[in-house]
Symmetry: C2
């Protein structure tokens, strides 16, 4: 007797493709990734890493002259240096005593469908933009601030206070600075003014080293942009250093911390800041959160001779 | 005028804790981790890493004599060698042409509430146990096979075919082998017989090197247990090596690949297998999936002198 039951066919090792007439593919592939969400408790503070997606950067973003070395270290990290390199984009939602503080907003609709996933990921955890109490920016580059406005330049966070480092806001709202930034970043000047207009009356220009609110404190990390700012999230002895754009491609910039990336306004300043922040994180064994560190973006920094390595923090299946 | 609005109080930097009378904590902490799910496409095959949770192992599990070295490499990985060390537990759900194959079942209710999360995580993706077509085991240790039975030893997968490597099944169903395993593993003998009884009539004893079904092929990896088996998932040129218990604490066993762990039935054999599988994965630059590699468990193996390192595969926000 020929066994035509599903199990019988399976045991016979017949592939679904060979049996077009049968109702196979009983479980179609899901076909999509899970929401980019991950949680970590920092003392009494709950931090959720919320992915905005990922984009691919050309390896030459670290300079044509550095391409051979770039490709070598990418290969060591099992990345293909002859193709665009994945660059994650994370934001961090911080719940401090019931108030929701979103650090960076993702890229909005500015960088295509592989990015701009913040709203969908927030929705997957039941958070709509009107629930956000404070939006705070590391800097005004559009991949971090593009999620502030819709296509008609209306605010996407209807009630949030917008906290922008004052040095950063001053720089990008002054057209006299246009010549100081890479050609590709000049859209930042009109964008800053659109943000200023859209959020008028609820923008706080954050002084250097000031508190966003108790538990979140700014630290200067100038260079990548003139007012690039990172944030210490602290509750009791527990802390997390949300270190913004210290790296864009960790495999490359930990190995060659002195290299700039094409988007740096001041590559040498960015490199000096990178070493200062890495040294601090390594010495204090700080948990860090990087906007461009592979999701969920949490790691420690290890000093390795004259360079560094990021050691991803293990996924915790419970808070 | 005193601004008593919510924003005014926030701007004044007053902590929620200081204002007990007000309706603060508008957004209570979520208080739980996201479901432990992550997807990766291997050619036409969709693999979902499904976490069963995590457990903590005493650092002495690698031997009292190795404690100083164990602590040193744990510290390098920013883990506390003076406390129990987290050990993740992953399973992998493989969709091959519409058939759902679950590799390992997690620990069931055998290891307490930080483990046994497979059913809840499967449910979070809409998969109930009756949807699983094939359950295939790497080995019969209870953290991998404990999810087969409920407390009354009834099968938790009501319709699945159960595929067990034949060498493994033969070993654990023969009481003559009792003296060959560590004291703490002897419960494996009665457990194997309970499994055999519960799944009678739908158990397939998998020959060495055989196909589970087209796309999933067994590879001997004996040592950790006598029939410990790993699986190559392949679709066209794409492949993933689901390498079972090649490591339990990657930071330790990549650095000291010749060390056994207390649960090894044959520590020397396990170490030789570890080197063979690591060498193969490193030489072929294979993507590997480890049951005890930090969730989602996907990595590449790098050879580093006489030892190895695992390089976590970056999270992909799209399939």
């Amino acid at each position: 007797m020929i066994d035509t039951s599903r199990r019988g066919l399976m045991a016979a090792g017949l592939a679904a493709a060979a049996l077009p007439g049968l109702a196979l593919a009983a479980a179609p592939p899901v076909g999509r990734q899970v929401p980019g969400l991950y949680r970590r408790r920092i003392g009494e503070i709950e931090v959720t890493c919320v992915s905005d997606g990922s984009i691919a950067l050309p390896p030459a973003v670290f300079g044509e002259a550095n391409l051979p070395e770039t490709r070598r270290v990418l290969a060591e990290a099992f990345l293909d240096g002859n193709a665009p390199v994945p660059c994650a984009l994370n934001t961090f939602l911080v719940n401090v005593g019931g108030r929701l503080v979103l650090i960076d907003t993702g890229s909005g609709d500015w960088l295509g469908p592989t990015m701009g996933q913040l709203p969908a990921n927030l929705a997957a955890m039941g958070v709509t933009p009107d629930k956000i109490d404070i939006v705070v920016l590391t800097h005004l580059h559009r991949d971090h601030a593009g999620g502030l406005l819709d296509k008609e330049n209306r605010p996407l966070f209807p009630t949030a206070e917008l906290v922008v480092p004052e040095v950063e806001m001053a720089f990008w709202t002054d057209d006299a600075n246009t010549g100081k930034v890479p050609q590709g970043s000049r859209g930042g000047f009109p964008y800053a003014k659109q943000v200023e207009a859209a959020y008028r009356g609820r923008i706080r220009r954050l002084a250097r080293g000031a508190e966003v609110l108790p538990g979140i404190t700014a630290i200067d990390a100038f260079g990548h942009t003139p007012g690039h700012t990172i944030y210490r999230v602290a509750s009791g002895p527990a802390q997390l250093l949300v270190f913004g754009d210290m790296v864009h491609v960790p495999a490359v910039q930990t190995r060659f911390p002195d290299w700039g990336i094409a988007f740096d306004v001041d590559p040498a300043g960015a490199a000096a800041t990178r070493r200062r922040v890495f040294d601090m994180a390594a010495a204090d064994r700080l948990l860090v959160a990087g906007m461009h560190v592979g999701f969920p973006g949490l790691a420690h920094v290890r000093k390795a001779g004259d360079h560094y390595a990021l050691v991803a923090a293990p996924w915790q299946s419970a808070l």
